[in-house]
């Protein structure tokens, strides 16, 4: 019995030996332990092998470690099973198994409740719930990790962000839908924004902070792009804020386009992209006008011949400051809009079109009244009444060439147009219109003769009167 007790005591003492020896070793070499470990681990080429055969370098860069956040720690504070006396030979199936095991040690100092405060970690914990493992070392280097605040975590912001955003992660909206947060890095490199960093646009996001935002639905998230883009493109933002699209959004119609809907996000290219693609952008929402446009004289020239002279949507409607087509200031500006091309002699000359169309319109009833309304509108603060402009007779998106169409057909169509405003107009009424041409002897002889008669008469009368007055004054001077 006594012998048994002695053996047990001896055994207990033997069990204590390692602890005693370790504590003795720590006491002796606490300051020197890192050097001691590095004496082997700073040698390049030290490789271990996992069971599955993958090699694993045990090399530690002492310079990087000295700069790292963990420089004040000793090796054994993390690698507790190792000491100058004890270096267990552990066996792992592969690197993942090893990493999972080692990551548990991080949690001793970085508890989950603290890690959770960073939304960027949320994805990791989500996976953990689904049976995944937390592997800190996938992102953070334990021996070379610098402070996140003010430190450079990665060689570039792009690489840092793309660590996660190159993967098929998702973000979830409160309404339930999820979208991928994967970013195609090539699309950024080909975009106009290739020289700016992620956080220049995603300005709330930094290496130290990844705020958790809540959006009810994807549309709300897209709308937030206004605030991103305006930081650099404030001029465009202020134009947009006066546009029909913005006022639609303000009134709750959230499907109206925001910056990224037309320009795209990461893949944004220069404004001078193909004119066809510009038209196609508008088509995404405005498919009916597009169909009409595609068949029109303008649209067919663009789409079939890629004619760069023809107007695309934004040439008439403008882009950022786009107004409702029914808005009086848009409507009243149509003759000027059409005039940009149709009063351009060089451009119209290419197609054998007359530039008199704009002049004759502007000097006729509709043009004069419209012009006066426009000027008065500013002074009298009055809204313009709807005076017929180019599109009211010619149509807008569906505009067709008149050449080759029988004059009688044109007139019968014109009468219908006239009747939309002048309900009681008869078939004689459209003859009042001179087909946008100045009066000529061949087309309108009576008018032509009368015009010239008055031109000559006015000159004769004015000269005659002046002659009379001068003669009269001369007589009085002579009589004195």
């Amino acid at each position: 019995m006594i012998v048994l007790i002695f053996i047990i005591q001896i055994a207990m003492l033997l069990c204590l030996i390692p602890y005693v020896s370790v504590s003795t070793a720590q006491n002796v070499s606490e300051k020197e332990i890192n050097k001691y470990c590095l004496s082997c681990h700073q040698k390049k080429g030290s490789v271990k092998k996992f069971l599955e055969g993958d090699p694993f370098s045990v090399y530690i860069n002492p310079q990087a470690f000295e700069k790292s956040v963990h420089r004040s720690l000793t090796c054994t504070e993390c690698h507790q099973e190792f000491s100058d006396k004890n270096h267990p030979d552990r066996v792992f199936r592969n690197k993942l198994q090893y990493s999972i095991k080692e990551s548990q040690k991080c949690l001793q100092c970085h508890p989950k409740r603290v890690i959770r405060t960073r939304p960027v970690h949320e994805e990791i914990f989500k996976k953990e719930k689904q049976g995944g493992a937390t592997v800190c070392t996938h992102c953070h280097s334990p021996h070379a990790g610098t402070r996140i605040t003010g430190g450079t975590v990665s060689t570039s912001e792009e690489l840092y962000c793309m660590k996660c955003h190159s993967k098929d992660n998702t973000m979830k909206f409160t309404a339930g839908k999820t979208i991928s947060t994967k970013v195609n890095v090539d699309s950024i490199r080909n975009s106009v924004h290739r020289n700016i960093g992620c956080s220049d646009c995603h300005f709330n996001f930094t290496a130290e902070d990844h705020p958790r935002r809540r959006f009810r639905a994807e549309r709300e998230y897209r709308l937030s792009s206004f605030e991103i883009c305006r930081r650099c493109h404030n001029d465009k933002y202020s134009q947009v804020s006066n546009s029909i699209h913005y006022s639609m959004i303000s009134s709750g119609k959230l499907n109206a386009p925001t910056c990224v809907d037309c320009h795209g996000g990461h893949e944004i290219t220069t404004a001078g992209r193909s004119r066809i693609s510009m038209v196609k952008t508008c088509e995404k929402c405005h498919s009916k006008p597009y169909e009409l446009y595609a068949k029109s004289v303008h649209g067919s020239a663009l789409l079939s011949k890629n004619n760069k002279d023809t107007p695309v949507c934004v040439d008439c409607h403008s882009s950022h400051s786009i107004k409702a087509a029914s808005a009086s200031d848009f409507h009243d500006n149509i003759p000027q809009n059409c005039g940009i091309c149709h009063a351009d002699k060089k451009l119209m000359g290419k197609y054998g079109l007359s530039t008199d169309v704009v002049k004759t319109y502007l000097s006729d009833f509709h043009g004069v009244t419209l012009e006066l309304h426009r000027k008065e509108g500013q002074k009298l603060n009055k809204k313009s009444s709807q005076i017929a402009v180019c599109t009211d007779c010619h149509g807008s998106h569906e505009i067709m060439p008149y050449s080759g169409v029988d004059m009688q057909i044109i007139k019968s169509r014109l009468l219908k147009r006239c009747q939309t405003c002048h309900a009681e107009a008869t078939e004689n009424f459209p003859d009042a219109w001179l087909s946008h041409y100045k009066p000529s002897f061949a087309a309108t002889p009576v008018l032509f003769i009368i015009e010239w008669f008055y031109k000559i008469l006015l000159v004769i009368i004015v000269l005659g009167l002046l002659f009379q007055i001068l003669l009269d004054i001369w007589r009085h001077i002579r009589n004195r």
Binding site: H373, F429, Y454, L458, V462, L465, Q468
Partner: protein, 240 residues
Amino acid sequence: MTSPEQIDNMGNIKRFNAYRIIEHYALIILFVILALTGLPQKFYFLKISQSILVLFGGIDNARVIHHFAAIFFTILIVQHILANFIGIVFLQWRPSMLIAYKDFHDSVHNVRYCLGLVEQPAMCGRYTYKEKGIYWLTLTGGLQMMLTGFVLWFPITVTNYIHGQVIPIAKTIHSSEAMLLFLLIVTWHIYDSVFSPDVFPLNKSIFTGYITKKQMQKLHPLELLRQKEDAQEGEEKTET
């Protein structure tokens, strides 16, 4: 004014009765309103035109005023023609405004006089050839303005009956004639009645109804002569 009683205390001779004075006042007012609301439409591109139209409350208001003034102008012209037609045909008014061969002769004579080729100016009657000229140009011009103005005011109604090209024709005539009348009034008539050394600072006869004997002698010597003869004969005639 054809009798000696029609001479006031100052020795001025009566030239126009109240009817003619009122007619002239009405014509001045309507002419000014029509010109102010009409010409800015012709010269719509000038800044001053826009300022004038704003004074009237905008082009729409200006057109309403123009139309109202046109109605009164039409009444004025129509009553003038009717009154004078009835007066001359039935009441034996003297058609002193009719243009005669003498008027052409007078005008040529006065040009020769101004150039120093003859010693004395032409002897004019109740109305000088200049006054007749402006009267007939205004009257015929006014009639044209009425007709073409009607076409422009009611284009739909008019094109129910006539070819549509009547509208641009009416527009050309209306706007050219307006310019003609405007120039006629502001140059010839204003010079003749205001700035001419014969009448300066103003020929007031159409406002007061009386003309000084001196002016009568100078401008209308034949009329003065006729009045004297009439007075001698003791006849009474109604002037036109």
